[in-house]
Symmetry: D2
Subunit: 275 residues, 4 copies
Amino acid sequence: MVIVIQCKDGVGLVAAISSVLANAGYNIVSMREHVDLEENKFFARIVVAEISDPQNIEKAITKVLPADAIVKVNPLPEKKIVVLVTKEHHCLSDILTRNHFKTLGASVQCVIGNHPDLKSITERFEIPFHLVSHENKSRESYEAELMAKIVPYNPDYLILAKFMRVLSPEFIGSFKLKIINIHHSFLPAFSGANPYRQALKRGVKIIGATAHFVTDDLDEGPIITQKTISVNHSYILSDLIRAGRENETSALAKAMQLVFEDRVFVYNNKTVVFE
Amino acid sequence: MVIVIQCKDGVGLVAAISSVLANAGYNIVSMREHVDLEENKFFARIVVAEISDPQNIEKAITKVLPADAIVKVNPLPEKKIVVLVTKEHHCLSDILTRNHFKTLGASVQCVIGNHPDLKSITERFEIPFHLVSHENKSRESYEAELMAKIVPYNPDYLILAKFMRVLSPEFIGSFKLKIINIHHSFLPAFSGANPYRQALKRGVKIIGATAHFVTDDLDEGPIITQKTISVNHSYILSDLIRAGRENETSALAKAMQLVFEDRVFVYNNKTVVFE
Amino acid sequence: MVIVIQCKDGVGLVAAISSVLANAGYNIVSMREHVDLEENKFFARIVVAEISDPQNIEKAITKVLPADAIVKVNPLPEKKIVVLVTKEHHCLSDILTRNHFKTLGASVQCVIGNHPDLKSITERFEIPFHLVSHENKSRESYEAELMAKIVPYNPDYLILAKFMRVLSPEFIGSFKLKIINIHHSFLPAFSGANPYRQALKRGVKIIGATAHFVTDDLDEGPIITQKTISVNHSYILSDLIRAGRENETSALAKAMQLVFEDRVFVYNNKTVVFE
Amino acid sequence: MVIVIQCKDGVGLVAAISSVLANAGYNIVSMREHVDLEENKFFARIVVAEISDPQNIEKAITKVLPADAIVKVNPLPEKKIVVLVTKEHHCLSDILTRNHFKTLGASVQCVIGNHPDLKSITERFEIPFHLVSHENKSRESYEAELMAKIVPYNPDYLILAKFMRVLSPEFIGSFKLKIINIHHSFLPAFSGANPYRQALKRGVKIIGATAHFVTDDLDEGPIITQKTISVNHSYILSDLIRAGRENETSALAKAMQLVFEDRVFVYNNKTVVFE
């Protein structure tokens, strides 16, 4: 059972926390702790074989910590996710098969697309697919529709699996640090339209992918994982895109695993990841 | 013996080139060829066991190719380099030991620093070190001094091994596609001062390094190699910098090897690299 | 259109081949050539925009090459594969989704399992699944049954996607260099039963996967691709196995892409791979 | 200041340790803890900003732990090493330049070679070089001479930087878990003479390197780091060896950093590495 803790740093935090557990007779199987000295922040992830009274332990630990402490014992034991997609299938296919074989660490409630292209693959796995088109709609009404579809599922996380719409700060604000996006990225980086074409023109030798939480600025939220893949001059545009897709699938899969196992902490637009 | 060829594309180029070699009785050991279809450019690197009459072969191949062809048989068989440095030793140390053990593929003529810090390590290897300080000098007079030191060595390449001065377009123009630089880079990329601090603040999970030819825009020339290295939240600033240095050393070493073995072709601000 | 050529080396081979193409008015888009000097073997992969008379070109090229030459113009344009599995789904799921979205480069004819576990996932994609149990059968009769299922599909390749049965030399001989297997592997390597447990005991820091053609000795055929992934002391057995699976999926996917794009040549139990 | 702890596991260890520190007014900056559940072993590495009374803290922590506990506060603050070499320079050059610029994390006392080849590079850095030839000597007398050279330096670690002699169990026993070796390794692995030639023959696509503590069986001690590098069919023997050397240098450098920063714990022929 996982315990995650985040608070301002102070002398004796680990002792205080571990005393609570020791007194209750629980043995720590694994503990990861990090202090950001510059920011004076403390983070811990503790694994205990099992805890019979999680709420009591949560309260007891909270009591021995600074007032700003966030303590969660066994947070979201069965995580539920909603997946947003557009037309590209690579991330979604990977999510659906992992979900099907129960190796995702979360349970896919539904898939929502702004195009119908991925309805068939979704339904093959008996997962509901909802088409919410953005066409001929204001962003407000589009997002209201999205929201109406999402809310009944009460998801713990929204996964943007190559969802190509920019979401409003209001929408994002409703799912604070609960939206995970996968974004291509390059060395040197290219923003603007058609980054793969720009990368091709520039002759890059590496392409990357960044999985991150979504905050107001779509591609600038706290980074969870980054992966890179080597490319060369023989890659034409379609090869670059194919390589990029493999890399995106792999980076998003890793990020989801880390988040779903409660290994990721967010603060000040960055993350602590106990890998 | 290496033959490198670059020209506009056309039907029968490979046939024409290889006929010249076959008729002269030379057997191709290895051949790499690339056509950039969008740009209509042809590139080839051919290895032949040995060539007794390189100048004749060069002329004979040139004759069968389009007018813009650049053909070099056994280009720069013993490459000479001058290394420019500031204070950081990691790339220079690597270059000096490779040079000492004759595994660099080029011969270091001298090291020029705008600070004296790396004089001792250089001289330990019996390589001349010249201090050319930039202080209290206009860029023109500084670069004139640099040039005066460099020219007598008649180097084939200048290596900027963590040389922290920006060179003028005029200076760079005197060594067109003969200056190789190593540049840190990040996903997402940070420009401006103190990129490692920015990267730390942003919580990046990967840092990179790009070795490239220097053109007018210092960090934007044709990319030769890129390498990345994984980092995590436990890295403080000095750890990030250390990891970055390992990566820079490795990326510059690889780039030099590729260039010195005539595996790199430049066009339109990008490269073909026959690795 | 791809042309692949394999023969003993000699002077003027590239010239001869490219003359045939030039005379027929075909322009070479990309050419990869390799000579194994020790073995005196020549390999080439040529891409030409399109060829209207492939059979004529095949004959014309063959005529100008040594007697042992194997020349294929547009080999197996639509490759058909049969996939053999046991219980683990990771490689099969990846193959099925790639096949579904037509990014596999081959067409899955059927899946054959010696256990029924993967019937459901296969049929979700409207691909036939055949159960051929090995239980209570001699190897001969088991393989005869397998063969009877496979032959009607006339596959170009058999993919062993975590197929856990050892095949007889006779069976393998019927599909010479047409069977691709994925095999876990380690540094240092462990053979024998339960390699992941051995790796755990030994505290390895890297685990690998090797995709290879199957020859008589199951895990020792010509290597197509190898991938590695870093692990650490915090991995328990199930973590190691999960990491190994990700790596196997990725290595097999890459190997299939290379083979299906005719980039792999086999000789003397090793490969030339024009990546 | 680093505290390292290793003992059998039990309830409340972290609480006990951190209480000692908290009561003494020391704040934990960073803590890594690992329990091997199968082996019932506990490991911790704690960083505290500074400790004025290390011996008291060591005693106080030891008192609250199981009887088998090994506790070290600020272990070997200035580590001393002796480097053993034969003829290959790549690892030694890297060690000498790091040592020169004080980025090694240890101080090189001397270099001992069984050949004179690396005397010059060593002495360029004003480090003593001792030639201890193995020729015409029994292993016993050779090792006695080695020992006589090593002992006066009282080193914390011996680094075998491509030292090509096999050491006796007696010699190794005198430096229990204090000898670090770098060993090439392959997927699949080759033992026996000339592994690079075997790897070439087998057409491997990856070569590796393993840095490990030396125990009785030379290449089988607890693994500290492993690195791999991709190679391909175009590599001739000398290319493979060059790539292998880069990789060995990099793996050994990383292993030394980890050991010298007290991040490596050994038990049951394997390691816990808090990277």
